[in-house]
């Protein structure tokens, strides 16, 4: 299909007797939509290419006998378009009749009934009675996976879903096979839908052929209440509508489904599967409904007063016996500004500085030394669209930030060059101009080599200290090529999960900010959770300087676990999964005198290490504010009643503060709390964040460390459907393949002195005292010198630091 871009040359023509103006290159339907003249359509979609195959939008042009498809016909000067003439009507009625002959006329039992384009348009353009008397086409359905339900007998072959795959997501899961009446839409190799944005075909499908499998037969659209809300699983905060139903589940108000809400600056009209389906976790059996306290080995349900009194007593006793520095708070990066602020204020009042939301990070020095500035710039998708170059530094953007992945693919199709420095050669859905696959220390050193290349090209004047640090690092042809792109382009350096949770994240960050400072490349950290940016902006963390309180620096999430505390306060986190070092975290929590968990969900592990469980409001149940990666502050209201006896976390902190006799916590409602938060009262991020970017070089060992002998580094990502406590409990998103499988480059195996073990071998992986055994696959996409072993989310066995050193033990027979 040719892409005709509308130019700004105006064209005026007659639309239904009225003179209207459009631009050269525009189609009739585009102008008609703008003018409020509705032309029926099925295949046309403004975000997809023009297929002109449904023929529903045929309109009469210039009194011609032959009608033209309005979605494809371009406007021309003085043309006369008549959307209501009898010729137009006859065409549209004929097409409608053809569409309906093979379509089941059983709307009452179709899940799309009431929200179906075909049903709606048949009211206007269909005949009351069908004159088709023959048998109808029946199509055998295919299992498209746990998210999308196929009822392909209802398909009208508009190919929107096919075009979504080939054009928008770049993952052509669906295609049209066969011809004529036998044409069918199906996944070519019966693989189902596998992309991270597959649920969008549900919205695109104009009929009941592709519907939401979890939502199927759960309710009719007209009985739902529509609420504007934001999704909470990545740093974009996609705009969504949450549909709730009174007396939905067990006689209670329930979230029935989540659909995208148009927002051109973020998610456009798309939604990731994570954002769309995670609501299913809200009803999970792990939901905590009542406050509970440990009673020896068992748990006792108590009332709030008992629970909170116990918490305040425990806190007081720890402060009295060990001092406030023996308290540590670990909170979710999706904590709202209000909750973060009041929690921070309480801990400060108690004299405690140990608080962190960056559980996934080991090295946080670079952030802690820059508390007055955001360690990055905001991301603008408009700028991304027009970027010449985007460098992905340790980011599998498709999984970490699926919508950003879609936007990057769109930019790439428009000409943005994408470069990647990653520990794995990922399955990109766009063209990757240059790809470097490095892990561990090689990862840092490649960025160092890029800086050296930039210096060699004269793009950067290195200070003596920088020069000293980079003395061991040589440029390579590949770093030269990267440097040339970096010098010549404007765009973004996007730091992803791997870069942030690298043990030498500071070195990576500093090298990238040095590159950013001498090029047109803006540095953006694609943070996990939804409110990392906001929590940083309000200064949540161990190093925030509060003028009225003069305290020493606290400890980061890694330090709090590395140097165990007497009392841990957890909010919406499961450190046994979320923390950089799950094994260490679990040990520290088990050893602690008291663990208080403010949480919506429990886990078997939590029931072992926790002492007091306080049920907190989950997503959709609380009001709050978040700041996303584009610098927007999104404030929202709770849309669903609280589950059981759970409470908003900010109220828990308020009561706790009052029980602890702290002053300044007399907030009656959330608006009083908001008034206390400078960021929210000013509504402006720029004022709360200013300062210079720190361009001092990293510590020498972070750059100079050389990998020796058979030392291996682990690539331990947290799966994209494991990112937070809610997603982990959305069953349809959990794949049976969650069994841990380790992967290694075949060359690495040879370097270790073994033959390629094939694919059936089971090995032991060892990090310090922790050993697991799992199958090992050789895979050429994995960086050399590294073992890919994701974070384990189930069961007892666990490894240590996500990206720390790891040993691999082949069984005796293989050696």
């Amino acid at each position: 299909m040719s892409e005709v871009v509308a130019t700004k040359q105006s064209v005026s023509f007659i639309l239904d007797g009225k003179e209207v103006t459009g631009y050269r290159g525009e189609t009739i339907i585009q102008v008609a939509d703008r003018e409020g003249v509705y032309i029926p359509r099925f295949c046309y979609h403004e975000r997809l290419s023009v297929a002109a195959n449904c023929r529903m939008c045929l309109v009469q042009v210039n009194d011609g006998k032959k009608t033209l498809p309005a979605c494809h016909a371009q406007i021309s000067q003085d043309m006369v378009v008549n959307t209501q003439s009898s010729t137009t009507r006859q065409s549209q009625q004929s097409v409608m009749e053809f569409l309906l002959i093979n379509h089941p006329l059983d709307c009452p039992i179709c899940d799309q009934g009431g929200q179906c384009d075909l049903q709606d348009l048949a009211m206007g353009f269909g005949k009351g009675v069908s004159r088709y008397e023959d048998t109808k086409r029946v199509v055998k359905d295919e299992d498209l996976g746990p998210l999308v339900s196929a009822d392909m007998t209802r398909c009208i072959h508009c190919t929107r879903c096919v075009r979504f795959g080939t054009e928008i997501s770049g993952i052509p899961d669906l295609g049209a096979l066969g011809r004529g009446e036998d044409m069918r839409i199906l996944s070519y190799l019966k693989t189902g839908l596998n992309s991270e944005v597959s649920g969008n075909v549900i919205d695109l499908c104009p009929v009941g052929a592709l519907t939401s499998k979890p939502h199927r037969y759960r309710g009719r659209s007209w009985s739902f209440t529509n609420h504007a809300y934001y999704s909470a699983h990545d740093c974009l905060q996609s705009h969504v509508y949450v549909h709730t139903y009174k007396n939905g589940i067990d006689g209670q108000d329930a979230v029935m489904r989540v659909v995208p809400r148009q927002c051109d600056s973020i998610n456009q009209i798309w939604l990731s599967d994570r954002d769309r389906f995670s609501y299913l976790g809200l009803q999970h059996r792990d939901r905590l409904t009542h406050p509970m306290i440990r009673d020896g080995k068992s748990w006792r349900v108590v009332d709030w007063e008992t629970a909170l009194t116990l918490v305040s007593e425990k806190i007081q006793s720890v402060i009295k016996d060990h001092g406030p520095e023996q308290i540590g708070a670990l909170i979710s990066p999706s904590t709202s500004l209000e909750e973060g602020f009041i929690g921070q204020k309480l801990l400060h009042t108690l004299g405690c500085r140990n608080m962190d939301y960056r559980l996934h990070q080991r090295d946080t020095d670079y952030m802690d030394s820059a508390v007055h500035t955001l360690p990055q710039e905001f991301l603008s998708f408009e700028q991304l669209d027009n970027s010449q170059c985007v460098v992905l530094v340790g980011s599998y953007i498709r999984h970490e930030q699926p919508i950003a992945g879609l936007r990057l693919r769109a930019a790439s199709l428009k000409g943005t060059r994408v470069l990647s420095i990653n520990p794995i050669a990922h399955a990109w859905n766009f063209h990757c101009e240059e790809e470097v696959v490095v892990a561990g220390q090689d990862f840092v050193q490649f960025l160092g080599a890029c800086v050296v290349s930039l210096a060699n090209f004269g793009a950067i004047e290195l200070s003596d200290r920088w020069r000293e640090r980079l003395i061991h690092i040589d440029s390579s042809t590949q770093s030269d090529r990267f440097a040339k792109y970096l010098m010549q382009s404007d765009g973004y350096l996007l730091l992803g999960q791997y870069a942030q949770s690298h043990p030498h994240a500071s070195a990576i960050y500093k090298l990238c900010s040095l590159i950013s400072s001498v090029t047109q490349m803006r540095l953006v950290m694609m943070t996990p959770g939804t409110n990392s940016t906001g929590l940083h902006a309000i200064g949540y963390g161990p190093c925030h300087r509060v003028d009225s309180v003069n305290m020493s620096t606290g400890e980061s999430s890694y330090q709090m676990i590395d140097r165990p505390k007497q009392l841990y306060l957890l909010q919406q986190v499961e450190p046994e999964i979320d923390h950089y070092d799950p094994a260490l975290a679990r040990a520290a929590l088990t050893r602690a005198q008291t663990v208080v968990a403010i949480t919506s969900f429990t886990s078997p592990e939590m029931l072992e290490y926790a002492d007091i469980l306080l049920p907190a409001a989950a997503w959709t149940e609380f009001s709050g504010s978040w700041v996303n990666i584009t610098g927007e502050i999104n404030t929202f209201q709770a849309i669903k009643p609280l589950h059981g006896q759970s409470k908003s976390a900010w109220k828990i902190y308020r009561v706790l503060a009052n029980l602890l006799k702290c002053e300044g916590f007399t907030y009656h409602d959330i608006s009083e709390l908001r008034a206390d938060i400078p960021l929210l009262s000013s509504g402006c991020l720029d004022e709360s964040i200013d300062g210079e970017v720190d361009l001092s070089p990293p510590l020498p060992r972070q750059l100079a460390d050389q990998v020796v002998g058979s030392e291996l580094t682990r690539i331990g990502e947290l799966g994209h459907y494991q990112m937070d406590t809610l997603v982990r409990r959305c069953d349809p998103l959990q794949r049976p393949a969650d069994k841990v499988i380790a992967k290694i480059h075949p060359d690495t195996v040879r370097r270790l002195g073994f033959d390629d073990p094939g694919n059936d071998v089971v090995v032991s992986l060892k990090q310090g005292q922790n050993v697991i055994s799992c199958p090992l696959l050789t895979d050429k996409t994995i960086a050399k010198g590294a073992v890919y072993c994701p974070v384990i989310c189930h069961g007892d066995s666990q490894l240590s630091g996500r990206n720390d050193a790891i040993e691999i033990l082949f069984s005796e027979d293989d050696q």
Partner: protein, 439 residues
């Protein structure tokens, strides 16, 4: 009617037909082949002069649409970007047509020379020759011809020592009817399913790989060398007014000697029928489909004094089409014939757009209902309605291809359909219930 007096058979595309080793390069060279091409390389006439000659010769597209070839070549604007492509359409899927196959098998060099001249005239450096999937023998003949021509320096880089380079690629299709539609052919060439594109943009603007492209039928291209060699006037006078040159007609059906005849345009149908030996039995002529199965049927009385040229056939209520003439005698049941034709179109619809995907099947099911005796009279008006509903509302001309037969059969032979419904048997053959409800 110049041509009719001294009937010149096989004057243009099939002129090697009666020679020994007709496909050989030597045979073609003996006939003066490639001399035009050599002259063009030497003298370098301006491309627009060549196109003007072709236009003056009134060479009309032989693939079915009958569009003026010289005008089509002009659609590629002078300042159109390069590369530009020529696509030679040898898919030949229209039932009743078997003419391109003979050109490829017996006169491939003239086709090659035509491609070369057309490429030169339109500033093209490559021609893709799309050959119907079933034509393995013809493909081999074209491949051999290319090898011979390359060996003689007629094709390839630095043609005949000049700086001109033209590559010709033969491509064997995968077997579909709709790929004969020019934009579907481009899709297929690009490696996708043969789904016709929406137009505009036309191939001259956005063709193969998005580049300016001309798609011509094999017979059209093979006519070009003779036009350049003997002049526009000769070609025009060979045919008749507004229909230049000769045309290959394929006579099939109830004739004594079914065959392929290249005769000047304007030849009376009666002459053509006698070339095929007349009707095969005593049964007189009932109807003809003059240009492949998608053209409107003509009853016998319309063929009296009918001449075979573009204008005359339009005036008679049909079209010259591909020149594949299907002759039917009085013993033909028109209901069964239409059902047969409609089944073909149901099978070959690409399924892309609604009226065709759904309409072809509906037509077949209605006809089968008639044939199985379950139909009522109102079904006939419904059949007519469906054909009318689909016509002109599809992406490509397939909407016309499957509805024209329905409309014209009903117009001319309504009584037979009515009879079948009332008596549950054919008015002509007396056979009962021929329907196949499983289709």
């Amino acid at each position: 009617m110049v041509g009719a007096q001294s009937m010149q058979m096989n004057a243009v595309c099939l002129r090697t037909m009666n020679k020994k080793a007709p496909a050989a390069l030597e045979t073609y060279l003996d006939l003066g082949g490639y001399q035009v091409w050599q002259r063009i390389i030497k003298e370098r006439p301006t491309p627009s002069d060549l196109i003007e000659t072709i236009r003056n010769a009134v060479l009309k597209g032989r693939g079915g649409a009958g569009f003026l070839s010289g005008l089509k070549m002009r659609f590629i604007a002078d300042d159109a970007p390069y590369p530009r492509y020529l696509v030679c359409n040898s898919d030949e899927g229209e039932p009743g047509t078997c003419k391109d196959t003979l050109i490829m098998q017996y006169n491939p060099h003239q086709l090659l020379e035509g491609m070369l001249i057309a490429c030169y005239a339109q500033g093209m450096s490559a021609c893709y020759h799309y050959i119907r999937g079933e034509y393995q023998v013809q493909y081999d003949a074209c491949e051999t011809a290319i090898q011979e021509a390359v060996a003689h320096g007629f094709v390839g880089e630095n043609i005949l020592g000049s700086s001109i380079g033209i590559q010709i690629h033969n491509i064997l299709g995968a077997g579909s009817y709709i790929v004969g539609e020019e934009s579907a052919m481009l899709e297929s060439l690009e490696g996708r399913p043969a789904l016709p594109r929406s137009k505009p943009p036309f191939p001259a603007v956005y063709g193969l790989y998005g580049k300016p492209t001309t798609v011509n039928n094999t017979e059209t291209i093979a006519s070009i060398p003779m036009i350049i060699e003997k002049g526009a006037d000769w070609f025009l006078r060979l045919g008749c007014e507004n229909s230049g040159g000769a045309k290959i007609f394929c006579l099939s059906g109830h004739v004594k000697n079914p065959g392929v005849f290249e005769v000047p345009l304007g030849t009376p149908f009666s002459t053509l029928l006698s070339l095929a030996g007349g009707m095969r039995s005593k049964a007189p002529l009932k109807a003809i489909i003059p240009g492949g199965s998608s053209m409107r049927v003509l009853p016998a009385k319309a063929t009296q004094s009918l001449t075979m040229d573009y204008d005359a056939l339009v005036n008679a209520g049909s079209s010259l089409g591909t020149g594949g003439i299907i002759v039917m005698d009085k013993n033909t049941c028109m209901v069964e014939t239409l059902a047969c034709i409609s089944r073909f179109y149901k099978h070959e619809s690409c399924g892309q757009c609604t009226p065709c995907r759904e309409g072809t099947g509906w037509v077949v099911r209605l006809l089968d209902r008639i044939l199985s005796g379950d139909a009522s009279k109102s079904d006939l008006s419904m059949l007519h309605d469906i054909a009318h509903s689909a016509e002109g509302r599809t992406i490509c001309a397939f909407g016309e291809a499957f509805t024209w037969p329905v409309q014209s059969f009903l117009t001319h032979f309504y009584d037979e359909f009515e009879y079948y419904i009332q008596h549950k048997q054919s008015k002509v053959t007396g056979r009962e219930l021929k329907g196949n409800r499983d289709v």
